[in-house]
């Protein structure tokens, strides 16, 4: 699991990436700075490749803002994941962040988004033609996403 591996005191888990069938669920647990975002992007793409994931959910509920860099990173992530055969859905953008991002002028037209993990997985199912998601499963996923 990606972690801040720099020398120093143990950090709380910044991000967790779990596997759920053919999908990866990546939860960002706290506000990340630019280098942490880049590391996250790299780690996630690596794992998409390793696991040959068909879909990726990125839960950004814990991000305090979605500024130009974060938006860019998410878009890049989706693009790179797409090159590796995975569809990406971003979930958990909270109301204030959504509005500020739009006001900032970030046009997220090309990014797939859903309200939360449940909806995100359902969307992935529809898009990848699978029937992976059962609503009851969402309760069993790692609590780190919230």
């Amino acid at each position: 699991m990606p972690n801040d591996k720099n020398v120093g005191p143990p950090q709380p888990l910044l991000v967790s990436i779990l596997r759920q069938g053919p999908y990866l669920i990546a939860s960002i647990n706290t506000a990340l700075d630019d280098s942490q975002l880049l590391r996250f992007q790299r780690d996630l793409i690596d794992q998409v490749g390793r696991d040959r994931a068909r879909g990726v959910i990125i839960d950004v509920a814990a991000l305090d803002v979605l500024d130009s860099f974060a938006s860019c990173t998410l878009h890049n992530l989706a693009e790179m994941a797409g090159l590796r055969g995975a569809t990406t859905v971003v979930v958990g953008i909270n109301p204030d962040v959504a509005f500020a991002t739009v006001r900032l002028g970030m046009h997220m037209d090309t990014l797939l988004t859903a309200l939360d993990l449940d909806d995100g997985l359902a969307l992935l199912d529809r898009l990848t033609g699978s029937r992976q998601h059962r609503p009851s499963v969402s309760g069993a996923t790692n609590g780190a996403s919230r």
């Binding site: 739009v102 997220m108 309200l115």
Partner: protein
């Protein structure tokens, strides 16, 4: 960080260290006579019937805090703590109906009570009394000012909050079915109200897990460009939360405004009337389609 506030009091009195040396003596006098002066003040408050909304016990308790804060300002030259206290006090007493004039009134009373005690103490030495007052008066005025301003600011904050609450009540978000919200907007839509609408809409999407929101603006005659922009942003923001917005009741005027600001009307789903909008929403949600295809249920 007091930003050298201690010297500020000295500056206000416009004199040299001579004046500021008098303050510690002043402060000591006020501390020594705390019980008696506070009592005198409390009775003056009772006489003038200020703070009628509060009980005697409460008045005494607040009087103690005000007195101590007052002396602290004189001592440290910093109104920091006093500001905190004044805001805190205001937060508590405004809902009780205490008026600005009462709060300013009691602070001025305290100023007078303390001034009199200074006259009393230094009446034998007029020049010294003058110098003491030169040090005391600017500080005392600053205190009265600080309290009044804090109270008024807090009052304004409360009023703003109440206005928000009222606005919220006038723009209800209705959940009619699973994942479907309706937001009827009636009346003039200004920037303030538009902000309110946005907040309620986006929070409503989260609370009710809405996938479609039908925003009915039949009752809105016209909007300016700023509000139009705002609404377009709201639609985009809704999309980021996984919800689509159907606008119904779009008048020709508003359509024109939207086109003027460069909105691509084909990006916004619009339907003639509310009923049609709800039908469209249900269609989008798949309610009329064979259920087994729908992965949500």
């Amino acid at each position: 960080m007091t930003d050298g506030n201690a010297s500020e009091v000295g500056e206000v009195s416009g004199e040299s260290a001579g004046e500021t040396l008098l303050l510690p003596e002043l402060v000591a006098h006020l501390r020594e006579n705390r019980t008696q002066l506070r009592q005198e003040w409390a009775s003056r408050i009772a006489d003038t019937r200020l703070l009628s909304a509060m009980t005697n016990k409460e008045i005494f308790s607040e009087a103690t805090s005000v007195y101590d804060n007052y002396v602290e300002v004189l001592e440290t030259g910093s109104v920091e703590a006093l500001q905190h206290y004044a805001r805190d006090l205001s937060e508590r007493i405004i809902p009780r109906g205490v008026e600005t004039e009462e709060v300013v009134g009691i602070v001025l009373l305290l100023r007078d009570v303390l001034a009199r005690s200074l006259f009393e103490k230094y009446r034998e030495d007029f020049p010294l009394l003058n110098r003491i007052l030169d040090a005391y008066e600017p500080a005392a005025n600053r205190i009265a000012n600080t309290v009044a301003v804090s109270f008024v600011e807090e009052r304004e904050r409360v009023i703003r909050q109440q206005q928000d609450a009222i606005r919220e009540l006038s723009t209800p978000v209705l959940q009619v079915r699973e994942r479907l919200l309706i937001l009827p907007i009636i009346g003039m839509l200004d920037t303030q109200r538009a902000r309110q609408v946005t907040e309620q809409l986006l929070r409503g999407i989260r609370t009710h897990r809405a996938k479609v929101v039908v925003v009915d603006i039949t009752g809105v005659p016209d909007i300016d460009q700023a509000v139009a922009n705002h609404l377009v942003n709201t639609v985009d923001a809704s999309r980021l939360m996984g919800a689509s917005v159907i606008v119904t009741g779009l008048s020709a005027e508003i359509a024109q405004t939207l086109v003027t600001i460069g909105v691509d009307l084909s990006k916004i789903i619009t339907v003639g009337d509310l009923e049609g909008g709800i039908e469209e929403a249900e269609r989008v949600l798949g309610f009329k389609v064979i259920r087994s295809d729908d992965a949500e249920r």
